[in-house]
């Protein structure tokens, strides 16, 4: 029997995620405006029959810009999480499987990255590489990958000694085969859950970096920029930041609820969580 809240989380979260994806994919087609089309005579308009979400500080159609922004923000979030997952999982698998001095070394590197306050590391990397979508994605990946490396390593360590792995090894299965056929399937669950939750974190991080002036360059309509501009106009024109803020909040909420529901569904006994919170070596 699943508790009611689990099903609710999954279904509400799932609905929000699908709605946001649909909005990102088809939002611009139905609006009839170009995202960069300015109209300085119609700035900060509230929603009208023509502009469904009103207009921004340059009189551009907010619906269109939020839709394009959804694409940009989701691309950054998905790609940075994807890179972090691939790198983190590989590092965690190999490190946990090989063990010994190699593992010790890899974990020290992970420690070093964990030691940086996340936003400071992202800030410094964007400053080093210059702003832009790709660099922002890379800098977010650089702060996310350690989480996956640690979780996957813990699972791998535990699985390595499991009976079926020892059995496979005794039957002459090679390392690669054991890693990918036997161990990988066991880490996928926790990784998917973490990744879903990570997408929300990435969207929030993007907005924070934009607020500090390190976001994607304009006129790319990222949500972070819209919220950052909107916050500066907060008192006189509260609508702009409300739209951007709510869009971010609802989307992050959707991914988090979905991830939470997924966690309870895939991992009702909280394996991923307990591994995460186990003492570090």
């Amino acid at each position: 029997m699943k508790p009611l809240a689990v099903n609710l989380s999954l279904s509400i979260g799932g609905t929000i995620v699908i709605a946001v994806l649909l909005f990102a994919l088809f939002g611009t087609i139905v609006s009839g405006f170009e995202p960069d089309q300015m109209n300085m005579k119609n700035r900060f308009s509230l929603p009208t029959a023509e502009h469904w979400l009103g207009t921004d500080n340059f009189g551009r159609d907010l619906w269109t810009r939020m839709a394009v922004g959804a694409r940009v923000s989701l691309t950054i979030a998905l790609c940075s999480v994807a890179i972090a997952v691939v790198v983190g999982t590989t590092v965690g698998l190999v490190s946990g499987y090989i063990g010994g001095a190699f593992d010790l070394l890899v974990m020290r590197i992970v420690d070093i990255f964990l030691g940086f306050p996340p936003i400071v590391l992202a800030l410094a990397i964007v400053a080093a590489l210059g702003p832009g979508m790709l660099n922002l994605t890379l800098s977010l990946a650089a702060i996310f990958w350690t989480e996956y490396a640690r979780v996957v390593r813990s699972v791998t360590l535990a699985q390595r000694e499991a009976d079926y792995v020892t059995a496979a090894a005794a039957l002459g299965a090679g390392s690669a085969r054991i890693l990918f056929r036997e161990i990988l399937p066991n880490v996928i669950g926790p990784v998917i859950v973490l990744a879903t939750l990570g997408i929300g974190t990435a969207i929030i991080a993007e907005s924070g970096l934009s607020f500090l002036g390190f976001g994607v360059e304009p006129p790319t309509p990222t949500w972070g920029w819209t919220l950052s501009y909107g916050t500066r106009y907060l008192r006189a024109e509260p609508w702009l930041s409300t739209v951007a803020g709510l869009a971010i909040m609802i989307t992050v909420l959707g991914f988090n609820l979905f991830g939470d529901g997924l966690r309870d569904h895939l991992d009702p006994r909280g394996v991923a969580r307990r591994i995460k919170s186990a003492p570090r070596q």
């Binding site: 009611l4 420690d111 990255f113 940086f116 306050p117 400071v120 924070g208 939470d260």
Partner: protein, 326 residues
């Protein structure tokens, strides 16, 4: 136990060496010359060159990194280019305010997190469960700077309840005053801390409430609880003695893991509330290319993070004797 602690402390050495090297490498790649920023637009090329020389920036990178390590071994973190004082002094002035907010934020998040988590677990599957979990999720879903500015608008301007910016009297001193029967300083100190701490604490409250909820559910489902229930022991007792005790484990561990996020969140919160902490200093140091200061701050963060995690692991073993330290 002693050996475990010593071994963990020994690992600080590669951590420090590594953090310094990574920070150094990134700052090498960052374009922008501290000497030029320091001297401003109206400086000649020659003056900038002289400045680079006097800052020691004309030396090759391996010598600079090497001499940084050598100085660090003597506890010397160099002199900040922009603050005109030793990095250790600059950090010492800022670390206490940051810790003040971090600690209060942590208390707030534990308080809110426990309340929501317990309520959700106790009334599992009801509207109360769904509402508290949704409420907790909202906290983690809002960009910090947006929430901070909204909060400031509401509490400081609209309702004029709290001072909008700045820091009150130092918290530690105010606590002593209060203990001696003079609570005015403490109240003023807390009134300044409240908003930044709430802004910072909300994210963690969400994480904690989720952990508390599932840890409690797990405990409540266990046989001994059912037995207790069957014996007619009060629900409240069950919750607070057995289940909550069990739920403290993940809460303690999350404090360690989230500590980094807490310090990182300080970067945004401090610049909104004009809080004189390390976070604001970190942004300024990076945006001025104040290399020794960036190094010093990152190192402070990293060591603090590692120390907190060591403490958390020790605490963990203390709370749950089943866990053995390797």
């Amino acid at each position: 136990m002693i050996w475990y602690v010593l071994r963990r402390l020994a690992l600080f050495i590669p951590l420090i060496l590594g953090v310094v090297a990574v920070t150094f490498g990134i700052m090498e790649l960052v374009p922008g010359d501290p000497a030029a920023v320091l001297l401003g637009d109206e400086a000649s090329e020659e003056a900038v060159r002289d400045m680079r020389r006097s800052l020691g920036l004309d030396r090759p990178w391996w010598i600079r990194l090497g001499s940084y390590y050598a100085d660090l071994a003597h506890g010397d973190m160099g002199i900040s280019y922009f603050q005109n004082q030793p990095v250790t002094d600059a950090i010492r002035q800022r670390v206490v305010p940051t810790l003040e907010v971090a600690v209060v934020a942590l208390l707030i998040s534990i308080l809110i997190g426990l309340a929501l988590g317990v309520a959700a677990a106790f009334w599992r599957g009801t509207a109360i469960d769904a509402t508290s979990m949704l409420f907790a999720q909202l906290g983690v879903s809002m960009p910090v700077f947006w929430f901070g500015i909204l909060l400031m608008y509401l509490l400081a301007i609209r309702f004029d309840l709290l001072p909008s910016i700045g820091r009150g009297p130092p918290l530690a001193g105010a606590l002593v005053e209060a203990a001696l029967g003079r609570p005015a300083a403490l109240l003023e100190s807390l009134s300044h801390i409240a908003m930044p701490a709430l802004t910072l604490g909300l994210t963690n409250a969400a994480v904690i409430s989720r952990l508390v909820r599932s840890a409690m559910l797990e405990t409540l489902g266990q046989d001994f609880i059912r037995t207790a229930h069957a014996k007619g022991l009060l629900n409240v007792r069950i919750i607070f003695v057995h289940a909550l005790g069990n739920a403290m484990l993940p809460v303690v561990s999350v404090i360690g893991l989230r500590f980094g996020a807490l310090l990182g969140g300080a970067v945004l919160t401090e610049s909104i509330f004009g809080w004189p902490g390390l976070g604001q200093l970190a942004v300024a140091a990076i945006s001025q290319r104040d290399l020794p200061l960036v190094q010093g701050i990152v190192l402070t963060f990293a060591v603090a993070f590692a120390l907190v995690n060591l403490l958390v692991d020790l605490l963990y073993a203390l709370i749950d004797p089943r866990i053995r330290l390797e």
